[in-house]
């Protein structure tokens, strides 16, 4: 018997959310004033949640790792946001978005959550428009749509290539409006270092003031973690420099189960790695695949300085060849894996010796539509590419390669988005809930905002209205211990005791971090196998030991200290990376972003094992140095038929 209760309401999937809303306990407006909610993270999910809860009357304290909520990494999302408005009249519906998302997630997500997401998607657009988000418009003044990321209908709303920015600024505006009214206390430059659990309930956090270094306790009646994903465990990813897993990981160590950590999305269209000093990869929106054609030479070519000279019959448009109906628009996991397949066969293009890239070629469309049309559609993306690579994509094909982009796994939550710790809610990319083993394009923004604007304002009341909460002051033993643990960890990483100072070989945080990233990418990356995962499970603890024995973290704990911040986050990545490898090893099937070499069809497609692995893997922390315990939440599919995912 599983300890996990997902609390999915009964009845047909179409009515679950409506029925649940009727059953939900509503906290009276007078009482909302008496509750204080801590929101950690101020990206799309966190800012929308903090603003919406404050509007309802809750007292909210919002913690922001940046100097301003406007800098959260949601801002970098380019492509768009899905919604079932069906404005183009091309047959979209709640059902179709629901089905596409469940299928796109390779049947590893919860039907009820996904259906709710599809249902609420249309409210998000109305909300954003009311906030003044400048979505693209048609000449008639109506909202424009495009097709995106492997969808057969045009359901994606966008604001040039900066949809995430505009949606985040909308949520940020709503949040700042509540800061102005005094209902939200904004705590910028604060990093959550620990979750405080009192009597089994999440009652506060310990955080570090990133300017003064003060270790602060904050108390509340509920804690909402919306701290994003953990893609930076790979070091090189499209995620921002400050993105990290520590808030979620610290909650995990306090009892929140971590679900499906092996599900990582590798985005197919990124600018390839260039040089050892590289710190960050840049995504090229996948909307480029609407007009760009992906190819490699059909035989290894040594000189590709002028790719256009390669005759057509010597090119392999492998996505079009292998997937005639979706062609270049296959979902991300499929496109990424195929790209890797080509470079593994030594057909890659780009600088020696790695040749880790494939072409994304616009020549045919430029000939067909004219340069100005392509410029209007993708001008800013072409500029970014040109800026980074110093190559002009109008005249030579782009070189692209997959890069880590998003993590589908995260803290386990029930239908109310509450974790296994009562009072700890998890929103947005930080939870595991809606995308299964692979996320479709333009649905991250949708999920983050859906959780923040339209789910948590209801479900939080369902918790606060039902539980007994005794007053806490921040001076209880649990808070004291937490502060002291955090201080100890900081002292240790700064080598207060001086034990590391004696060691001969010392390494910077970045050196060790790169090493971890490379291990993760090579063995827990795009394609995994038993041997590699077992190697990673040995290697990562060694690296962790090496980290604690040799790392250099200079500077003071009581000033602004970026190296200290990064060091603490990287230390958590070592623990998380190990769990990812263990999860990937345990999942003896291929599903979505999790591809095991041993489990593939004859054509090299992911081969699921629905009989044995149709479950959510939720891992329970057992203490330092002990392996986590696996708990399984069985996935029940009542509405969609499990099929081999095919985009042929």
């Amino acid at each position: 018997m599983t300890v996990l209760d997902s609390k999915i309401p009964d009845g047909p999937v179409q009515g679950k959310w409506d029925r649940h809303k009727q059953d939900i306990k509503v906290v009276s407006p007078a009482n909302k004033r008496n509750f204080k909610v801590l929101v950690v993270g101020t990206g799309l999910a966190g800012a929308s949640a903090a603003a919406s809860l404050a509007e309802l009357g809750y007292n909210v304290t919002a913690f922001c790792i940046h100097d301003s909520p406007r800098r959260a990494h949601s801002i970098a999302a380019q492509g768009g946001i899905n919604s079932t408005k069906n404005y183009p009249n091309d047959g979209d519906s709640v059902w179709r978005l629901f089905y596409d998302t469940v299928k796109g997630g390779d049947f590893r997500s919860r039907e009820a959550n996904v259906y709710r997401l599809a249902q609420l998607s249309s409210n998000i657009i109305d909300q954003a428009v009311a906030q003044g988000v400048p979505f693209a418009r048609e000449y008639g003044g109506e909202l424009a749509n495009r097709s995106f990321g492997g969808a057969l209908v045009s359901r994606t709303f966008y604001a040039r290539g900066q949809t995430g920015q505009q949606l985040l600024l909308g949520a940020y505006g709503a949040l700042m409006r509540q800061v102005d009214t005094g209902k939200v206390t904004l705590m910028p430059r604060r990093e959550m270092m620990d979750l405080v659990v009192v009597d089994g309930q999440a009652r506060g956090i310990t955080c570090r003031n990133l300017v003064t270094g003060d270790i602060e306790s904050h108390t509340g009646d509920a804690v909402i973690v919306a701290s994003g994903g953990y893609g930076r465990v790979y070091f090189l990813s499209t995620n921002a420099w400050n993105s990290n897993s520590s808030a979620a990981w610290r909650a995990h160590r306090k009892g929140a189960f971590m679900a499906n950590p092996c599900y990582v999305q590798i985005h197919p269209t990124c600018i390839p790695v260039n040089g050892e000093q590289q710190s960050k990869l840049t995504l090229m929106s996948e909307s480029l695949r609407n007009d760009g054609r992906v190819w490699v030479p059909s035989e290894r070519q040594n000189d590709l300085s002028n790719a256009h000279n390669v005759p057509r019959e010597k090119r392999d448009y492998y996505l079009e060849r292998r997937y005639p109906s979706f062609g270049n628009l296959v979902p991300r996991d499929v496109a990424s894996r195929n790209g890797k397949m080509m470079t593994d066969r030594d057909l890659g293009v780009g600088p020696e010796p790695d040749r880790l890239a494939v072409f994304l070629d616009f020549r045919d469309r430029i000939e067909e539509l004219g340069k100005h049309v392509i410029e209007e559609r993708y001008g800013n993306l072409f500029d970014i590419y040109h800026e980074i690579t110093a190559e002009d994509p109008y005249s030579v094909p782009m070189r692209i390669y997959p890069a880590v982009h998003y993590t589908m796994g995260g803290l386990w939550v029930d239908y109310d988005l509450m974790s296994t710790i009562p009072g700890l809610f998890v929103l947005g990319e930080a939870n595991f809930s809606d995308h299964g083993a692979n996320r479709l394009g333009a649905s991250a923004l949708m999920q983050g905002l859906c959780d923040g604007y339209f789910v948590i304002p209801y479900t939080l009341g369902n918790y606060l209205g039902r539980v007994e909460l005794k007053p806490v002051t921040g001076e209880e033993d649990e808070f004291r211990e937490s502060r002291s643990d955090v201080n100890k960890r900081i002292d240790e990483i700064l080598d207060k005791s001086g034990k590391r100072a004696k060691s001969k070989t010392r390494h910077t945080v970045l050196q060790l971090y790169r090493e971890l990233g490379l291990t993760m990418w090579d063995h827990v990356g795009m394609a995994r196998n038993e041997e590699g995962l077992k190697y990673a499970l040995e290697k990562i603890p060694e690296l962790r030991e090496k980290f604690w024995d040799t790392v250099i973290v200079p500077g003071s704990p009581s000033t602004f200290n970026k190296t200290l911040e990064l060091g603490l986050r990287v230390a958590d990545f070592f623990e998380l990376g190990e769990l990812m490898a263990r999860d990937a090893l345990t999942r003896e099937e291929s599903a979505g972003g999790h591809f095991r070499d041993e489990y593939q069809t004859e054509e090299g497609e992911a081969l699921r094992d629905d009989e044995n692995f149709s479950y959510v893997a939720a891992w329970e922390w057992n203490g330092e140095g002990k392996a986590q315990t696996l708990h399984k939440e069985d996935l029940v599919f009542e509405n969609v038929k499990l099929t081999q995912r095919s985009y042929k």
Partner: protein, 251 residues
Amino acid sequence: MNLTLKVWRQDGPDAAGALESHTLENVNKNSSFLEMMDLLNEKIMLDGKDAIEFESDCREGICGTCCLVINGQPHGKSLGVATCQVYMRDFKDGDTITIEPWRAKPFPVIKDLVVDRSAFDRIQAAGGYISVSTGPHPDGNAIKIPKDVSDVAFDHAACIGCGACVAACPNASASLFTSAKISQLALLPQGKSERSRRVKRMVEQMDDEGFGNCSNIGECSAACPKKIPLTSIARMKREYLRAVVSPFDAS
């Protein structure tokens, strides 16, 4: 390539600061400027010294975190880029590069090259939004917005809040930042009902923060990574003038 770097070091808002010289070898010309800074810090830390504090986040020009004045120019010499989009191929072997923080009274230095830009958040809180709460709203298509209006609104909405406008302005004026938000919301039909209140409060907050006056020099627009035009400021002045003479808004 090999470089000499003169980097501003300052312990805190009230401490005196100074330029500190470093040399750095073997910088890859395809590295970004910030990767060069990472490399410099690696070297400094391996030498047993404290790293230079600077900020960055997305490293793709959209979050607005990075903020370096490179050779006397915010975000370096190129137009329309943030610091993270500056590449080392813009420099020559043997160059000396001076790196300083944004300089403005309302942006006190936190440490080295890191400044406190919370004044921008307070300006935003004073009215940089449309006052709607979460909940049911009219269908997105119920409000028709001509494409050109929407496009111009977007041009202003593109602001990333980096503060280069302030750093570049000889008067450290925040007019371009403030006017970008005011312009976006004044252009859209949704934003019109509270336009007077918005411009009044945001300008008041901008003044209270201690930013300088706009002298129409336009260096802000040249430094802006999103190329927000100076006409944005003209629109703010119109909006304010309108709020002065408008008899309708009681606020």
